[in-house]
């Protein structure tokens, strides 16, 4: 690799590391400044957990440039939009909705444990037994199993679209959550673009054939993930009246990204002048 390319990749690496630091620092500062009432600790655990979830997803996307493409990035972005809608909906009435959220999760875990137990009856597996024990202990540490209900419907009692509507995330639902669902659920609108390519033979009716071609890398996906984590940070800041010193992820991303590519452009121009 020539010096110029090496230098650019070093700068990109620094950009990614610094971005991750910004997110990490943002989570830490917000947690310290949140007016946590330990009596209702679950509310702050859910809020903090969802914010950390957003930051983690964005950090891991940043650290993996090879997945800044249409195959993988939309799956992560869909998870992030879902996390934001969940957070925004919960923040409309935290005491009631946090309970629903947690109980649903515990119920799902209970259901999984029951499936595992049924499986182990037919197939005596020591590893599965250990897994069951571990999961039961985890469940019991949160809520007694005999009090845990299992809900096989929606955790909120609403579809995601209704939740988004109630939580003023209509636009996010329409322009991000729904389109990214195509990749997440392997739907035709995604598959036909990313996993099929046209045969140019007219005798074959220009049919499409399976393709495992690599998709081109696009930092726009990382930009979007910065946007979504920024949205979640901003919402929590607004609800709790937090003043945060750490840069907001999106502003930081835009400024530093522009600098990175402006520098690259200058380097290229300088080289052409040589």
């Amino acid at each position: 690799m020539d010096d110029e390319r090496q230098e650019f990749f070093q700068k990109l690496n620094n950009f990614i590391n610094n971005y991750q630091d910004i997110l990490s620092a943002g989570i830490e500062e917000r947690w310290l400044k949140l007016p946590i009432k330990l009596y209702d600790k679950e509310i702050y655990e859910v809020i903090g957990g969802l914010l950390a979830r957003q930051a983690t997803l964005s950090m891991l996307l940043a650290s993996s440039p090879y997945i800044w493409n249409g195959h993988i990035a939309p799956i992560i972005l869909r998870v992030m939009t879902d996390a934001h809608i969940t957070l925004a909906w919960i923040l409309k009435d935290p005491p009631d909705r946090v309970k629903k959220y947690i109980h649903y999760g515990l119920g799902q875990e209970k259901l999984f444990i029951e499936h595992l137990k049924a499986g182990v009856e037919e197939n005596d597996d020591e590893d599965i037994k250990k897994l069951i024990k571990y999961k039961e202990e985890w469940l019991e540490s949160q809520r007694r199993e005999f009090l845990t209900e299992v809900n096989v419907g929606s955790w909120s009692g609403l579809g995601t679209r209704e939740m988004a509507n109630e939580a003023d995330c209509d636009s996010l639902y329409k322009y991000a959550y729904a389109p990214f669902s195509g990749a997440t659920h392997n739907m035709w609108q995604h598959i036909s673009r990313f996993n099929l390519k046209y045969c140019k033979n007219p005798l074959h009716k220009y049919h499409k054939i399976p393709s495992v071609d690599r998709a081109s890398l696009d930092p726009d996906y990382l930009y979007r993930s910065a946007k979504y984590v920024d949205k979640s940070f901003a919402l929590v800041d607004k609800i709790f009246g937090l003043t945060i010193d750490t840069s907001m992820p999106l502003n930081w991303f835009i400024e530093e990204f522009d600098k990175l590519f402006e520098q690259k452009k200058t380097d290229v121009e300088n080289k052409e002048d040589d």
């Binding site: 390519k197 045969c199 140019k200 033979n201 007219p202 005798l203 074959h204 009716k205 220009y206 054939i209």
Partner: protein, 242 residues
């Protein structure tokens, strides 16, 4: 300023969780021009590409008229569609070939239709014979590919012309009746001035009239067996291209 916000899918009818567009509410059959009609008429595309529009149209009209004159059914049969020739008995086919030879049309048809006659199983006009043409398979397949490519889009002139021929042949064999007062389509404009408004209007008319050929009559007449066979043989005839 228009304060009324546009309602998304406002012209659609909501049925359960589905929004049905206006056309789909008419419960019309789904006809695919490419799947069902194209294989039936591409033979005329081969003639047009070999000899130009005037002579190509003349040849396809002549064979259709001759076939129509000798066919047994008292129902109208449109011999613009290749699978119509399956209605002819072996004896009638023999008669047709003799007539074509007498009129010096046979060799031209054989030469032009060779790729289909020689390489596609079940092509309904195979009875015309391959005439012992010397060119290689590769050459013939390339010729067919170019013709299929040129005629694939029914909104472009070559594709429109062979659809128009379906209508023209129906008309010259007495199968088209225009209601008094209605203007028949100006088919000549498609050849003489394809970019004109007149030609565009005619093109729209012939597209919909040709679709009706696929909707009328029984399944066999609509050529579904040959149409399926034509496309299904494609992977055997030639490799995929990227």
């Amino acid at each position: 300023m228009n304060n009324k916000k546009k309602i998304i899918l406002g012209d659609h009818k909501k049925v359960g969780s589905k929004f049905i567009p206006p056309m789909a509410q008419l419960e019309i059959s789904d006809i695919s021009t490419i799947n069902q009609i194209f294989p039936e008429i591409i033979w005329m595309g081969l003639l047009n590409d070999s000899y130009g529009y005037r002579e190509g149209i003349h040849l396809s009209s002549e064979i259709a008229k001759l076939a129509h004159a000798i066919h047994d059914s008292d129902k109208h049969v449109n011999f613009a569609l290749s699978s119509s020739y399956e209605y002819l008995s072996d004896e009638k086919k023999k008669t047709l070939v003799e007539e074509l030879e007498r009129n010096n049309y046979l060799v031209k048809l054989q030469k032009s239709l060779y790729p289909l006659i020689k390489y596609y199983e079940g092509f309904p006009m195979t009875f015309l014979g391959d005439g012992g043409i010397a060119e290689s398979k590769d050459f013939q397949i390339q010729k067919l590919k170019k013709t299929v490519e040129r005629h694939f889009n029914r909104y472009e002139t070559p594709g429109v012309i062979i659809l128009a021929n379906v209508v023209y042949i129906r008309a010259i064999t007495g199968g088209l009746h225009i209601v008094q007062g209605l203007e028949p389509p100006n088919l000549e404009s498609l050849v003489s001035d394809p970019e004109s408004d007149e030609a565009k209007k005619t093109a729209a008319q012939v597209r919909s009239m040709a679709m009706m050929e696929a909707m009328s009559g029984d399944k066999e007449k609509s050529g579904s067996a040959w149409s399926q066979s034509f496309w299904n043989q494609g992977l055997k005839i030639d490799k995929c291209e990227f």
